[in-house]
Structure formats: C-alpha cells, structure tokens
C-alpha cells in the first residue's frame, strides 16, 4: 500500500520571510548600498584632496619667497702669495675668472673652475712708481690704481665666453685696454680713489692730502683726451678718508675723518659742493658707496655704523636733500668697504675685523652673514648676476660664495608693511612690479591689492546686495506667479552673461558715458529712488477701495507711470540744473568741493559692473530660500492679521536668513574672484584710497595682467602666486564664516 505523502506546504510569500532568495536579495542590496556609499565618499574625498592639492601647489610656488637666502662657500684657494695684497677684485658673470688688482701693480687672472693657470699681467706705464691705492668700478670690470707719483692707471678687463659645438666650455679673461691719467704732480701719492665706468667712459676721483681731483675719459678710440676737474680748495684742511662715484659719474661723495661727508655735483664744468652732511657719527667715514640705481648712498664709519641716505623732499615744493633714512646693523669694527650688487638693492659690506655681509638696502635686512672666515678682506667683489661673492683676505686667500638671494626684494615687511622706497619721501604701500629701467626696484606690497579687492567687493556688494535681496523678496513674496516665472529665469540668465562682455561695456561704454555726462547720471541716481519712494507713498495714501481693486502682484504696474515721469523729468531737468547750480560742470564742482580724485573708471562703475556678476547669484539663492519658507507659515502669519509686508519682514526674512547669508557669501566669493570685469573696469591703479570716485587694482586683476609677463620662478611670479593663495584663503575664510554663521542661524531659526 502506498500512501501519497502530502506535499509540504509551500512557504508563504512574505516580505520578511526568511527565504534564501530574500536573504540573497537583501545581501545584494546591502552590497550595492556599500558600493554606492563608498564611491560617493571616495568622490568627496577626491574633491577635497584636489582642492587642497591646488592650494598646496599655488602656495608651494610662493614658498621659496620665504625660505630666505642661502650662501654657500664654494671655493677657498690661495690667490696671491709672498705678502702681496689684493686691492680689488672683479669677476665674470659665471663666477669663474676672478681678476685681482694687486699692490704690486699687476692684474692676476685666476680660474676657479677650468684648469687654466693663473695669468699675471703687469700694468703698463707703472714704471718705477708703486701702487698706493686700487679699486674696481661697480658696473663693469674696470680697475683704477693710484700710484705714488700722482697718476691713476686704468685697465679694462674683457670676459669672453669660449664656445665649442654651440656650448659654452670656458671663459676667457684678458686685459682689453689700459691707460694712465696724470692726476696731480709727480710727487704726491694718490691715497683714495674711486672709479666708475660703463665700459666705455671712465670717471675717476682721486684724493690725497689736500688734493681732490676728478677726471673723465673715454676708454679707447677717438676723443680719449681726459677732462679734469679740481675741488681741492673745498676740502682744504680736511682729511679725506673715503671717496665714491655713482654709476652715472655725475655725483661724488667724499668722506672725512671728522665724520662729515660732502656730496659733489660733477655735472657742471667744475665740481660743485652740493651738500655738506654729518654722518651722525663723530668717527671717520671709512666707506662710501651708492646702491645700484644711484639713489641711495651708503655711509660706513670707523665705529662700525652703516647708514643709508637718499634724497627726501621735506615739503611738496622743496627740492630733495640727502637724508639719513636707513640704519643697518652695526659692525663691531670699522667698516672697510662696500660693493653693491648690479642686479638689485643688495650690498656686500665688509668690516676690518673680517665680517662680511650681504644686506638689502631697502629693507635693511641681512640677507646673508658670510661670517668671519679669515682676516680682514682687502678686496671684495659681487658677481654681475648677483649670484656670487668673492673676497680676498689679507693673507691672500680667495673665498668664493654662491649666494642665492633671488627674492631679496621680497620679505614679509615688503609685502605687508609700508616701505620707504627710493625716490619716495615716506614709507608707503606700493605695488609696482615692473619699471622702465634695468635698475628699477620692483615694489611688491600686497596691501594695495588686498585693499583693492576688498574695496571692489565692498562697493559691488553695496550696490548689488540690497538690490538682489530686495528683488528676491519682491519676487518671492509679492510678485504674481506669472511675473515670478519671467523675472527669475531672466535674472539667472544675467549670470550667464560673459564677464568679459560686462567688463567691456563697463569700461568702454559706461565709464566714459558717466564721465562725460555726470549731470544726467547723478540726476537719474537721485530721481530713481525718490520716485519709487514717492510712488509708494502715494499708493499708501490711496483709499482701500482703490487698492483692493489691484490684483495680487499687479501693484508694481502702479510704479510704471511714476518711473517714466521721474526718469523723464530727471533727464530733462538735470541739464539745466547742472548749468545753473554747477556752471555746467558737476564733475569739476565735485572734484573741487570735496577735493576728490576722480577717475572715469571708479568704484561706482565697478560696483555696477561687478554687481552684474553678483546679483544673479545672490538673487537666485536668496529667492530660493525665501520661497522655501513654507506656505503654511505664511498663511499662519497672515491669519494673525499680518500684512504681506509684515509677513515678509518678520517671518520670511528671519526664517530665510541662513539662505540669504549663504547667498551673500556666495556673491562675496564671486566678486572677490571676478577677474575680467575688474581688469577692464577698475583702471588697475594700485592705490590705497577708499574714495568711491577712483579705481583700484585687485588681486585677481594683477594676476591676470601680470603673470603672462612674469619670468617663471622670479620674484613677481612667486608673489603673484602668493596673492593667489591669499585669494584662496579669503575664499576659505568666507566659506567658513558662511558655514559657521549659517549654522548658528539655522540653529536659531530652525528648520520647519
């Protein structure tokens, strides 16, 4: 007998049934969840990483500015022996072939890199005389040696790179020309001497006891007969302890044992005494030299003090007089010699105790302290590219350093503090990265740029924030849905307008239009708000019956006739009014009355133009946050007897405040990063003036206009990157502030 086993009951299909299929499905879902969550997290982290990476890159480009300068002793070797003293040294631009002027009347040409043996060339026409003093010109390798018989022997060195297969394989150095200048009668030794030469013209100052002589001569070719000048009577009875000539050879400085020094003007046929100055120290002036550019005179004294002097005007109409404006760290021993860099405002200074420093004149910073490596240095030289320094000590040993001071012009003080630049009368924040001449000192104060950025943003926000927020309030709370559906996309479309077009219109149409028709502009600016207020007042006075007849959202039409009349009237009236009240020249009147500086491209223009970029963002985000206030809340407010305006003001604005704040911050961020508009509409003048009637230069505009011209890895390039990272930091701060304030607003007004 067989029984048919009843088939097991089919498991009922139930969502929570613990079947293998269900479990597999749940597992699958879980896995999918994990994968999606993982990829979203990874994406977010990648974005954060990318942002930080960008910041790291941008800031990384600026970091070398702050790493300071380095100096490295690369060579130490014997240069002269047997008690011979090196009086002066010149070096080629590759730092390879130092040329020494010795007190034996020879020029020793060394080779620090290649295997060339040292060459010794005797100065011609020395004869039986001995060398009593010797110097080298700062600007070119031209030596001048004073002799015991009252002559100056001048020799020019030629450095010539040697090429093979298109590659530089070595450096040749030779004495290119020599001549002798008879300065004084044959029995007086030249004790102090200074020479300046551009390689062609040579100027010499020679001094001895009671004698001061000037001479200029062309180095070679025709017209080589020297011109002499004499100023002996001006220095009679004084002991000359230092002499200097500037690069243009039109000024000479003569220092005395009593701590005073003279400034001579050599432009005239006869040397004229221009200024008689007190170095500020009673000890003798032991070293004098002009800093590159010939504007700052360095004065070193026997007591180790070093000061910098430049022409300062005490009043707007007075002429410049040499004034002590810089004080450097003093040496412990008398200052021995200065050697200015021919690239920047750095200066090599030596003291008798063997101290040797590279200092920066403008900021009075010690760039490198080369320390006391030997006994007194008798000759110091600065490489033409300012990347090396050589010095020969009393024992005849030559030391050569590689100096890396590419960013000597940049320091925190130069970036953020007022700096007294040459040809300025007082410390100032100056941004002027390039100038016309080689000896131009770039000025990198970021303060005017930061100020300009903030000023532009401020005026842009002043113009656009109220407009955008009130517009958002109107559109979200008062306008009819139809108007809203037209206005909102239109304003958003405004944001799609390329900013270069906005900038172009602002800079090339609006600013000249406003400039040439100030009367109408001001008339309209006054008339617009006035007519709106008037229209609002009139409408509030209308009887309820009339007001109730206007459909919801149509009230704005009421404005139209008022605006038309107001604008028309303002347009017609402002011409005659300007004529009668301000003699037809409102701009001139404004400028005279308020002593304003008026630029056609000013903050009003920038505010309007930047406003074009800012308004769409602020409007959209603020409008969204206001319309997101639930209808039920507005209904509750109106059911309590609140008018639409009261509801908007007391309920919607506070409830939407986190969103409005976010909108403002977004607008702020947009404005501070905006570039094309500010490039075209600001005038790009880096000035520190809060007046709305002149322009500014913003960080972003500086980056845009200057980075294409900035040599890669140069100071300007890196400073621009630094300003870029500042923008980054601004954006970061703004967003953080927005987040913090937004969070506290949200906490206060909650969510619904």
């Amino acid at each position: 007998m067989t029984t048919i086993a009843p088939s097991p009951p089919r498991p009922e299909h139930h969502a929570f049934a613990d079947t293998p299929q269900a479990r597999a499905r749940i597992k699958r879902l879980r896995r999918l969840d994990k994968i999606i969550a993982g990829s979203i997290t990874a994406g977010g982290l990648l974005i954060i990483l990318a942002v930080f990476g960008i910041f790291a890159f941008v800031f990384g480009e600026a970091v070398p500015l702050f790493l300071g300068s380095s100096a490295e002793l690369v060579t130490t070797r014997s240069a002269v022996t047997d008690g011979t003293k090196a009086l002066a040294v010149a070096i080629d631009e590759y730092g390879q072939r130092p040329v020494l002027l010795t007190d034996k009347g020879t020029l020793r040409i060394l080779d620090l890199v290649g295997g060339n043996t040292d060459v010794e060339v005797a100065l011609e026409s020395l004869g039986t005389a001995t060398i009593t003093s010797g110097v080298v010109a700062h600007e070119s390798p031209v030596f001048a040696a004073g002799t015991s018989d009252g002559r100056v022997l001048v020799a020019g060195i030629a450095f010539e790179p040697r090429f093979a297969d298109g590659k530089r394989v070595g450096q040749d150095a030779s004495v290119a020309w020599q001549f002798a200048l008879p300065m004084v009668d044959g029995s007086t030794a030249i004790e102090r001497i200074a020479v300046s030469s551009d390689g062609n013209r040579v100027a010499v100052v020679a001094a001895a006891n009671g004698i001061l002589k000037f001479a200029t001569r062309r180095a070679k070719g025709i017209g080589t007969s020297p011109k002499f000048g004499d100023a002996a009577e001006l220095v009679a009875g004084k002991t000359i302890t230092a002499v200097a000539l500037n690069g243009a050879a039109d000024h000479a400085a003569i220092g005395f044992a009593d701590g005073r020094f003279f400034l001579f003007d050599l432009d005239k046929a006869d040397a004229t005494l221009k200024e008689n100055l007190d170095s500020g120290s009673a000890s003798p002036v032991t070293a004098l030299s002009w800093v590159f550019g010939g504007q700052t005179l360095l004065v070193g004294s026997a007591d180790g003090r070093v000061s910098g002097w430049q022409g300062i005007r005490s009043g707007p109409s007075s002429s410049r007089t040499l004034t002590r404006v810089r004080e450097f760290d003093a040496f412990d021993a008398p200052v021995a010699d200065f050697m200015p860099s021919q690239r920047n405002k750095c200066i090599l200074a030596a003291a008798r105790d063997g101290a040797l420093r590279v200092e920066h004149s403008t900021t009075q910073r010690i760039i490198s302290d080369l320390g006391r490596t030997g006994s007194t240095f008798t000759a110091i030289g600065y490489a033409p590219k300012a990347d090396g320094v050589v010095a020969i000590d009393a024992s005849g040993t030559l030391h050569a350093w590689r100096v890396d001071a590419d960013h000597a012009d940049v320091s925190l003080a130069a970036l953020f503090a007022p700096v007294l630049y040459e040809s300025y009368d007082e410390p100032d924040y100056v941004w002027q990265s390039t100038g016309g001449s080689d000896d131009y000192e770039p000025k990198y104060s970021l303060v005017p740029l930061i100020f300009g950025s903030l000023k532009g943003v401020l005026y842009a926000m002043l113009f656009s924030a109220p407009l955008a927020i009130l517009a958002a309030l109107y559109v979200s709370q008062f306008a009819s849905p139809k108007a809203r559906s037209i206005v909102k996309p239109t304003v958003e479309l405004m944001g799609a307008l390329p900013s270069v077009v906005v900038g172009f219109l602002a800079g090339l149409w609006l600013s000249p239009a406003v400039d040439s028709d100030m009367g109408h502009t001001v008339g309209l600016l006054l008339a617009l708000p006035l007519t709106i207020v008037l229209a609002a007042f009139v409408s509030s006075r209308l009887p309820q019956r009339v007001r109730n007849r206007v459909a919801f959202g149509r009230e704005v039409l009421f404005l139209v006739p008022f605006l038309a009349a107001g604008i028309g009237l303002a347009w017609l009236a402002s011409g005659p009014l300007e004529q009668t009240l301000f003699d037809g020249d409102l701009k001139g009147w404004l400028v005279r009355t308020f002593e304003l500086a008026y630029d056609p491209r000013n903050c009003v223009i920038v505010g309007i133009a930047l406003g074009f970029a800012v308004i769409p963002i602020v409007f959209t985000v603020a409008e969204d946050s206001m319309s997101n206030v639930p209808k039920s809340l507005r209904a509750a407010s109106e059911a309590l007897g609140a008018s639409r305006w009261q509801t908007a003001w007391r309920l919607v604005l506070p409830a939407a405040s986190p969103g409005i704040f976010a909108a403002l911050m977004l607008g702020f961020g947009r404005a501070i990063g905006e570039t094309m508009i500010v490039v075209m509409a600001t005038g790009n003048t880096p000035i520190l003036d809060p007046s709305p009637f002149n322009g500014m230069r913003t960080i972003s505009a500086s980056i845009a206009t200057e980075i294409p011209e900035a040599p890669v890895d140069g100071s300007l390039y890196r400073v621009l990157f630094l300003s870029g990272s500042l923008l980054f930091v601004f954006a970061f701060l703004i967003n953080t502030a927005a987040e913090v304030v937004g969070a506290s607003l949200r906490k206060r007004y909650g969510k619904w």
């Binding site: 009887p543 039920s632 407010s637 109106e638």
Partner: protein, 298 residues
Amino acid sequence: MVNLRMANESQNRIDAALSGTDARLPDVLPTKGHVIGAAQDPRDVTKHAPKIRIDKASLWYGTKQALFDVDLTIHERSVTALIGPSGCGKSTLLRCINRMNDLIDSVRIEGKLTLDGEDLYHRDVEVEILRRRVGMVFQKSNPFPKSIFENVAYGLRIQGVKNRALLDEIVETSLRRAALWDEAKDRLHESALGLSGGQQQRLCIARALATSPEVLLMDEPASALDPISTAKIEDLIHDLRERYTIVIVTHSMHQAARVSDRTAFFLNGILVEEGKTDQIFTNPQRKETEDYVTGRFG
C-alpha cells in the same frame, strides 16, 4: 461706511496699550472640570445675536465648484461644529470666513458673508483688520521658526505692541488658556520647533488667542493629538465659548457632540443639515446626516 475696523473689547485694550493708556487684559477664565463624556448643558445659542451670516455662498477653485449655495448663521458666543466627509468643503468654508482663500489664486466666491452685519467681501475691507477679529487654528500645526514666546507674541508685535510687560502678560495668559503654560514656561525662549506635535498645536491655539479675536476658526485642531491633549483643547473650547464665537471643523463625532452647541453637516459642498448638536446627533432630519453620524456612511 463699513465698520470692520471697529475692534472688540480686548482689541480695544491692546489699542489702548498701544496708545499708552494703561489697560488690563481680561482675567483668565476659571477652568471648568473635564467635560469629556459629560453631557453638555444644553444651551440655546440661537438667542444670541448672529455673529456670522453666510448667505448663498458658492465657491469655485478655478472651474471646480467646492461650495454650493451654503446658508448658515453662526451666533455669538457659540460653538459651531462643521462635520462631513473628507473633501466636502469644511475647510473651504472656514477659510471664507477670514478670507484666507484670498491667498489662493483662481478662487471665485459668490453669495454674501457678513460679520456683525458687515460684508466680509466688500472692497473697502482691510483683510488684516478682519483677520485680527477672526483668528484661525490650522489643521496642521504650523509654529513659526521662532521662540515659543515670539510665536505667541507674533500677532501683537504685528500690531506694534512693544510694551514688554503687556507682551509677557498676554503670552502667559494665552499659553495658560491653551493649557501649555506649565509645559512651556521654563523654555519660553527656546525654539517652538522643539515642542511635540500636540504642544505645537496648542501653541498655535495660544498664538491665535493672543490677539483676542472675536471669532476663532479651528480646523481639526485636535486631529494630530493624543487623548489628553485633545481633552485639554476641548476644555479650552468649553471655556472660550463664553467669550468667543467658535467654529470648529472635526472628524470626531464625539468631539462635535462634546464641544459644540450647534452642528452643521456638509456633503459634497452642500450644507445638508444644521441644527442643535444634540438634535443632529440624536434626531437628524435627513437620511444622509443620520447615516454619517451613525457611521453608516460610506
């Protein structure tokens, strides 16, 4: 001249406070005991003067008609319950009385509604003034994202009351009346959004009471509440009827029976029957009414 601007007695006090004269708010009414299940003392409110008269009111949302020739008189110091199935137009009618329908586009109203004999839809009416006289509690609680205190004070601030003492007093009185004082008094300045749903609804009632309206429209005020909160609100209605004219929409027959003097039954936008509450529930005249109140509707 239509006189909807004329304020009631409490409003007069607020106005007096605004104009600087000292005025005291009416004392809190002593709360009576619970009335749940207790038989209503049958009141004949038809002797009271008519407060609101609805005369052949029809309403369209666009082309869709939601009310059909509704005729209804609501008497002073009475509680009128509007009952009927979902979508029959109870809320719509309620919103007509304080003109909240104005906020909805495409609404068209015909017929005549009067408050104290004055046309609510006359074109000289200032709806803000009207709504101060006709307060409303909504179906879903909708506290403002503000503090409890500011929620209750909102209506007064709208009217320009700045006197702190007066605000404090009215806020307390209103919260007490809405049976929320004990729960809220220690957190008056915390966000109202931290309250529970039932507390939020009582807050909305307190908010509506603060401006001392003459008429209080309540749209299912207890629909989201637990029995205890509901009882508190019913107690409140019981207290308030001595002073206010109350119109309440409810889906709870028991609630209608407990709190109202008169009941109006709506079906598909038509007022089917209106009468004394006990009569509607015990002896309805129309078949639809009987079906609905006995739960056979459907």
